[in-house]
């Protein structure tokens, strides 16, 4: 199979894609069903609301503590990993991250790289960059494998192929996997994937993975998974490259269990995943397997921008469980692809602007009714609704005094909107104007247009009342 060429879908076309998705009954049903399933499974894991709040407080505390000490922890992590024989690389941008990984792969004359699940590798568009230099980057998580085979991107960060039915997957396998026959049995479909991928694990020279937690005190990379493909990718090939955002580091090993316990329960409603894989170095003399080289690529890609602001910094507390999207009424209705970004849903709305700039993403923070569900279920208590409001403000205005402008600061500002607000302010600060405006608007109400742009797409037209409130109140006082 050839690596698929996938590019970012510009977030600016979000509204069009959302409209298409909302009209797609089948997609709506898939997501509604899957999200209800995940919501119920999560709820069953947290029967005691007070206990949950205590766990969230601890997890929030651990993440805030880790972020407060981030530069020191990154240096400690680098030191420990280096002592353990792991090579640490730093990348400021997506391009730098890809160049580092391509460099390692080319040094080993790699033709095939097998990948465990890594959202950061999707974020930096690694597969595309690898394809450009003729290296096959094969996704091995079942869901990721399915979407890659179909030339798509994941629609959910935990369940990448959630938008597909088993019939669609059966057809896809029958068409694209040599020798596979059409079957709608999930066990048989998984069996087909297993056979293809085990062959690839055996032959690939380089394996790639993400990182869920990086422990500074011991130099340990922790990976959470159910399938075992992560273990395959990090154990069978001669070279293991891990990629992660700089925010994933924690100080101590003992900080891991509280976060891990909340991650799996919040994500899929599992008390624990099948595997929790802790990697602290390459194969040592005397060991008979494991990679001979282990690399870690630490990626910034906009994270330091979020870090620079004390409110926006809380974005980096995220442990990527996906609970915010599972509970988001907007995400449930439009699905992950409509967002056009690697991270969809509420977390995507608050992290993507730092990665891609507000010019490309300013519409995303508006894709929320601010119902607050995302903030309520977040296991590390990221105040997502507040951050959405903040980013809406940043997209419309200059940076606050004393704050550096964000990438794409003020990108959503429109002359028309500015003029409307200036006019409104002028009217409201001058009583004579305001009364004249009210008199005119009520007397000429018959002239109100029946079509009022976006407002009337799904609402009845606005029309002024027959008399202003001032007039009604004045008439009432007179009667007394």
């Amino acid at each position: 199979m050839n690596a698929q060429q996938l590019k970012f879908v510009p977030a600016s076309e979000f509204k069009q894609r959302a409209a298409v998705a909302v009209a797609d009954d089948h997609l709506r049903k898939s997501f509604r069903g899957a999200m209800d399933f995940l919501i119920n499974k999560r709820a069953a894991q947290f029967p005691d609301p007070e206990a949950l709040e205590r766990q969230r407080s601890l997890a929030e505390h651990i993440r805030q503590y880790s972020l407060a000490r981030l530069p020191e922890l990154l240096e400690q992590l680098e030191r420990k990993l280096t002592d353990n024989g792991v090579k640490v690389h730093w990348a400021e941008s997506a391009e730098e991250a890809c160049a580092i990984i391509i460099g390692i792969a080319q040094r080993h004359s790699t033709k095939l790289m097998v990948k465990g699940k890594s959202m950061v590798s999707e974020e930096v568009e690694l597969n595309h960059a690898m394809a450009d230099v003729g290296i096959d980057a094969l996704e091995s998580d079942m869901g990721e494998y399915i979407v890659q085979l179909d030339g798509e991107k994941p629609s959910h960060i935990i369940m990448p192929a959630i938008h597909k039915t088993k019939q669609q997957i059966a057809r896809l396998f029958a068409d694209k996997v040599p020798g596979a026959r059409y079957t709608e049995s999930v066990d048989e479909l998984i069996g087909i994937g297993r056979a293809v991928l085990r062959e690839k694990f055996m032959t690939a020279e380089v394996g790639m993975s993400g990182v869920n937690f990086a422990v500074a005190e011991t130099g340990t990379l922790c990976l959470v998974e159910n399938e075992g493909n992560g273990r395959m990718c990090t154990t069978v090939p001669d070279v293991h490259i891990a990629i992660t955002g700089i925010e994933k580091v924690v100080e101590k090993l003992e900080h891991v269990p509280p976060l891990f316990g909340l991650l799996t329960r919040s994500a899929t409603g599992q008390a624990i995943t099948t595997y929790f894989n802790m990697i602290s170095g390459p194969r040592r003399p005397g060991e008979k397997d494991g990679p001979r080289e282990v690399h870690l690529v630490l990626v910034d890609n906009g994270r330091t921008q979020a870090y620079a602001d004390q409110q926006l910094r809380s974005t980096l507390q995220c442990i990527r469980c996906g609970a915010c999207m599972n509970h988001c009424p907007v995400y449930t209705r439009i699905g992950g692809h409509a967002y056009g970004t690697t991270y969809p849903g509420p977390i995507g709305e608050i992290i993507s602007p730092h990665m891609m700039g507000l010019a490309a993403t300013h519409v995303l923070p508006t894709a929320s009714s601010l119902c607050g569900a995302c903030g309520e279920v977040c296991p590390v208590r990221i105040p997502i609704p507040e951050l959405l409001v903040r980013l809406r403000e940043e997209a419309q205005h200059d940076a606050r005094p004393g704050h550096a402008p964000l990438l794409g600061q003020g990108a959503a500002r429109s002359r028309l909107v500015d003029a409307v607000w200036s006019g409104w302010a002028a009217l409201y600060t001058r009583p004579a104007f305001y009364r004249a405006f009210g008199w005119l608007a009520t007397r000429l109400r018959a002239l109100t247009p029946p079509l009022q742009g976006g407002w009337t797409v799904s609402r009845t037209p606005m029309k002024p009342a027959a008399r202003t409130l001032h007039e009604l109140m004045a008439a009432r006082s007179k009667r007394r």
């Binding site: 899957a34 206990a51 505390h61 651990i62 503590y65 407060a68 530069p71 990154l74 730093w90 990348a91 400021e92 730098e96 998580d141 079942m142 869901g143 369940m159 990448p160 192929a161 959630i162 597909k164 088993k166 999930v186 066990d187 479909l189 998984i190 297993r194 055996m202 011991t218 340990t220 159910n226 399938e227 075992g228 493909n229 273990r231 154990t235 100080e251 003992e254 900080h255 269990p257 509280p258 891990f260 316990g261 008390a271 624990i272 099948t274 929790f276 602290s280 170095g281 194969r283 040592r284 060991e287 008979k288 397997d289 494991g290 910034d300 330091t304 870090y307 620079a308 602001d309 004390q310």
Partner: protein
């Protein structure tokens, strides 16, 4: 300036409020433990077996004396033609004496026999460093005597677990075993056979790794059913 310097410089330039106190995970854990009924060996065994069954792992209670014979019977029943083990492991001598058909040691680096491991090895036996009752989890530390792939590539994974080494929680296990003093190149928590729900949220076992996980739980004679 390198990427590293630039990133660290930007992080250091960011405003810092009052630095938070170090989180006290031990105190949190102690409070949770104090609020629950204290666990006993019997309750830990019970809970572990329940949870492991939930993950589709099979637990068979065996004794120090009879586990190799039990394993032999299991291998015959499941049609296992080749069973991989670590020849330098503590249990090797006892295993070798059990005359199990197809028993073979993981005695050379993987590079020379990958294909054989992937295609012609039915089962692997590994020891464990303990178990976690709360979640039905095995603690596996692969190393020179029991390499990483033994518990991953063969379709059946047999694991030997001593009931004396059942902990209540992951946190308790890592503290009592003093993990922070030094981690091996690879350490694992294993809860059941490999699985996926990536197709229409339907659970399927044997995604990439073992299709079956069979725990041989070492108990005293009177603790057997």
């Amino acid at each position: 300036m390198s990427a590293r310097d630039n990133i660290l410089r930007r992080l250091r330039a960011a405003p810092q409020g009052q630095p938070p106190m170090a989180p006290d995970v031990a105190a949190f854990h102690a409070a949770v433990t104090a609020a629950a009924a204290p666990s006993t060996r019997a309750s830990r065994i019970e809970l572990f077996c329940d949870k492991m069954a939930f993950w589709h792992g099979e637990v068979i209670r065996v004794t120090r004396a009879d586990w190799p014979q039990k394993l032999r019977e299991l291998c015959v029943a499941k049609g296992v033609r080749s069973l991989l083990y670590g020849e330098d492991s503590a249990h090797a001598a006892q295993l070798e004496a059990a005359s199990i058909d197809g028993l073979r040691p993981y005695d050379r680096p993987i590079d020379g026999w990958k294909k054989e491991l992937f295609e012609d090895t039915d089962a692997g036996l590994s020891a464990t460093r303990g178990g976690i009752a709360e979640t039905g989890t095995l603690i596996v530390w692969p190393g020179a005597s029991e390499p990483r792939l033994m518990s991953l590539v063969p379709p059946i994974h047999f694991a030997l677990l001593d009931a004396n080494q059942l902990y209540d929680t992951f946190f308790q296990a890592m503290i009592e075993q003093r993990w922070s003093d030094g981690m091996p190149t690879n350490a694992l928590l294993v809860s059941g056979p490999s699985k996926t729900a990536d197709i229409q949220v339907t659970l399927a076992y044997g995604a990439h790794g073992p299709k079956e996980l069979i725990v041989l739980l070492l108990v005293n004679d009177e603790e057997r059913p």
